[in-house]
């Protein structure tokens, strides 16, 4: 094919990459691309703030496993994407972001709506491009999608000066030629052998699983391995859903707000098999006293993660799914052991709990009720207490059904991400578990959801405060609640109605189930305002910088 404009070449490239939806908002310098998209057959979802475009693309990617795509104009459009790109980078989400840019001859002159977005996003992208010639477009797009989805996935940004999208080129989609990029997918047979031997010799093994298992689609292999050797499995926030939480081998989540039994198991383990996880500080607590008795096997597709935070005895570089499958083949079956009994006793003696009864709605009860009514739902979260309750009190079983900003902890992520997830999986029920603080950070996306008929169910656990930070003030700052009380919170029911969504409210425990049923039955975007107490806490908790052994049980 020949002689098309740069913008048409972009559309052609997107089609060749199988892109069916892009999220964005137009502006002057990206207009040629919008013009080419107009009758391209690719669905464009007009969001109300560019940050939401990046989060929606991110939610779409996490829910479908495909590359999410967003676009914005130059300058403020591009900088508004940055938080969303950084969120995707921290959680290794495959994404391609396109930005308009001033025409080439104005680059570097502080032209109108100019921002050096490739410079700005170097630290938060897997790679980025400033395209200088129209004829480079096919190569750049092919590379960008390849880089975004292979190895350890991540966001790639493509900055497009206006003239580059207008100029003509002969379109040819080239083969990939990236001499400096070769993801390590194969696993080393000898390392698998060593790891399998260590697993067989271990008396108190724990498998610790992160988002890498999710992205490699390795959950079935994980279950196979864990069941074969009867190893308890704990997941990070990013790994939630990779192992069915109703399994007797499940320890739920570990770390700062993990289960007591997961943290106990880690601290007592003699072997930890870490798969696609990165020993983040929220997981390990005080690193020097993390898993003090354990040998560590670390499987990761990114060699830079191995040995970054903890000393590793057996490194295995490669794809998590392949490694888990190889390990499952290499080990011999084990029987239920004294270790399994001990772990079961911890599970029995230290379950996640909350004080039941009373007049106010318990947020944990809301999550349990959603789980009861809709166990197959996709749970997207905002950030803060709502996020931790959603991780703790919903029984997660599917890796693509829990979507949350883990690494960056971006408030305002959940609602646009839920919108993107629902567009990727329209047949699934999608909830955004929100707080009244987080939801107000991207509330404008109600318009996007309503206009595009995206029936996301937003459950606002409304305590009128920035709850997680308030909890820290309560525990560590002598209850000096500086700037965590939001004061006047809008009437979310009226707000939903103002945008054309359905607004519902629950103020008493007896109303919760009925209101949730009504929300689930609704085929429109629905906001449920659930009034809870500002003193509710996320429990248990390992204070920042403390050892996992120093876990606190908190009363609401």
């Amino acid at each position: 094919m020949s002689n098309m404009s740069g913008a048409e070449a972009i559309v052609e490239s997107l089609k060749l990459e199988g892109v069916d939806v892009v999220f964005g908002l137009p502006g002057g310098y990206i207009l040629p691309l919008y013009d080419a998209l107009y009758d391209s057959g690719i669905r464009h979802v007009l969001i109300r703030h560019e940050q939401a475009a990046a989060h929606a693309a991110d939610g779409y990617a996490r829910a479908t496993g495909r590359v999410g795509v967003c676009l914005a104009t130059s300058g403020p459009g591009a900088t508004n994407l940055v938080t969303g790109i950084a969120t995707a980078y921290m959680d290794s989400v495959p994404m391609v972001a396109m930005t308009g840019q001033v025409p080439s001859q104005l680059l570097g002159t502080d032209g109108f709506q100019e921002a050096d977005i490739t410079g700005i996003t170097i630290p938060v992208t897997k790679h980025n491009y400033l395209v200088r010639r129209a004829k480079d477009i096919p190569r750049v797009f092919r590379e960008a999608f390849y880089i975004a989805r292979t190895g350890r996935p991540g966001p790639v940004l493509i900055d497009l000066p206006k003239d580059v999208t207008v100029d003509d080129l002969d379109f040819e989609y080239p083969e990939i030629c990236l001499p400096g990029y070769s993801p390590n997918l194969k696993v080393h047979a000898l390392q698998i052998k060593r790891a399998a031997k260590a697993l067989m010799e271990a008396e108190r093994p724990v498998i610790y699983v992160g988002g890498g298992v999710k992205y490699s689609d390795g959950h079935k292999e994980l279950v196979e391995l864990a069941e074969k050797i009867k190893a308890p499995v704990t997941t990070t926030l990013m790994g939630v859903g990779c192992f069915p939480e109703d399994s007797p081998l499940s320890l739920g989540m570990l770390g700062m707000h993990g289960t007591r039994y997961a943290n106990l198991a880690i601290q007592e383990a003699d072997l930890i098999l870490a798969v696609g996880a990165r020993f983040d500080d929220r997981v390990t607590g005080k690193i020097a006293s993390f898993a003090p008795q354990a040998k560590v096997i670390h499987v990761d597709v990114d060699p830079a993660e191995i040995g970054k935070n903890v000393r590793v005895d057996i490194p295995v570089v490669g794809d998590a799914k392949t490694a888990l499958a190889e390990l499952a083949k290499a080990v011999e079956p084990k029987v239920w052991s004294a270790w399994n009994e001990l772990v079961a006793a911890w599970k029995r003696d230290h379950p996640l709990f909350y004080a039941k009864g009373g007049d106010s709605i318990k947020p944990q009860f809301v999550l349990e009720t959603i789980c009861k009514l809709c166990p197959e739902a996709v749970i997207v979260t905002e950030v803060g207490q709502n996020q931790m309750w959603a991780a703790q009190f919903f029984t997660h079983k599917d890796p693509k059904h829990f979507i949350s900003s883990g690494g960056l902890g971006t408030m305002g992520y959940g609602f646009p991400a839920a919108t993107g997830a629902k567009m990727g999986c329209p047949e699934k029920e999608v909830f955004d578990i929100a707080g009244d603080g987080s939801i107000q950070m991207n509330i404008q996306e109600l318009a996007t959801a309503v206009i595009n008929d995206v029936a996301v169910k937003v459950i606002i656990l409304n305590n009128g405060v920035l709850g997680m930070v308030r909890q820290l003030q309560d525990l560590f700052y002598e209850k000096r609640f500086t700037n965590t009380t939001l004061g006047r919170v809008p009437d979310f029911v009226k707000m939903a109605e103002a945008y054309g969504a359905l607004g519902l409210r629950a103020t008493r425990p007896s109303e919760v189930e009925g209101v949730l049923k009504e929300a689930i039955a609704s085929d429109r975007p629905t906001v449920v305002d659930v009034v809870i107490s500002p003193d509710e806490k996320v429990s248990p908790m390992v204070p920042a910088g403390a050892s996992l052994s120093e876990i606190l049980e908190l009363e609401g």
Binding site: H127, I147, A304, K308
Partner: protein
């Protein structure tokens, strides 16, 4: 401890910023950094010397390897590599000091590349230690300006990373 690493990178805009950014992000101060063409017009070679402990350096090396524009990274150990640096130094040269400066320059096999009534520019190529030694010797006359390239290094022996 001072480490020397030599990334081979694609000759493209932005590569220097990406590379240097990995060091600054971790609070590493780059002691010296040189970039220049290789025999392949698409490739450049850097020599970076940096102070830091082994673990952090290993981490930075791995992160460098992750950059799409970085083709390969080698660490050059002092015992197994040669390193050279170029320095040009403008030294105050009063009439009465001039011959002594010339003597020093000749003994340490440096060169005078510019002379004016009150100053000289001395050029020196050598190991960092030798350059350092010359600087010390010239300091007594008054150094007016000094420019150093930073080290370029290469592993000894027949193994090579390519032209």
């Amino acid at each position: 401890m001072l480490h020397t690493i030599a990334p081979i990178v694609e000759n493209k805009p932005g590569v220097l910023v990406r590379t240097a950014g990995l060091f600054s992000k971790r609070g590493f101060n780059i002691e010296s950094l040189t970039v220049g063409a290789t025999d392949n017009p698409d490739r450049s070679r850097m020599t970076i010397t940096v102070e830091g402990d082994e673990v952090v350096l290993e981490q930075v090396t791995k992160q460098l390897n992750k950059l799409v524009n970085v083709i390969r990274v080698s660490e050059l150990l002092p015992s197994e590599s040669v390193g050279r640096e170029l320095a040009v130094i403008k030294v105050a040269a009063r009439k009465e000091d001039r011959s002594e400066i010339m003597q020093i320059v000749s003994v340490i096999r440096a060169e005078v590349i510019d002379v004016s009534p009150r100053s000289m520019i001395v050029e020196m190529t050598g190991s960092e230690d030798k350059v350092e030694a010359m600087v010390r010797l010239l300091r007594q006359f008054g150094i007016k300006e000094k420019a150093r390239t930073g080290k370029v290094s290469m592993a000894r022996g027949a193994t090579a990373v390519g032209p």
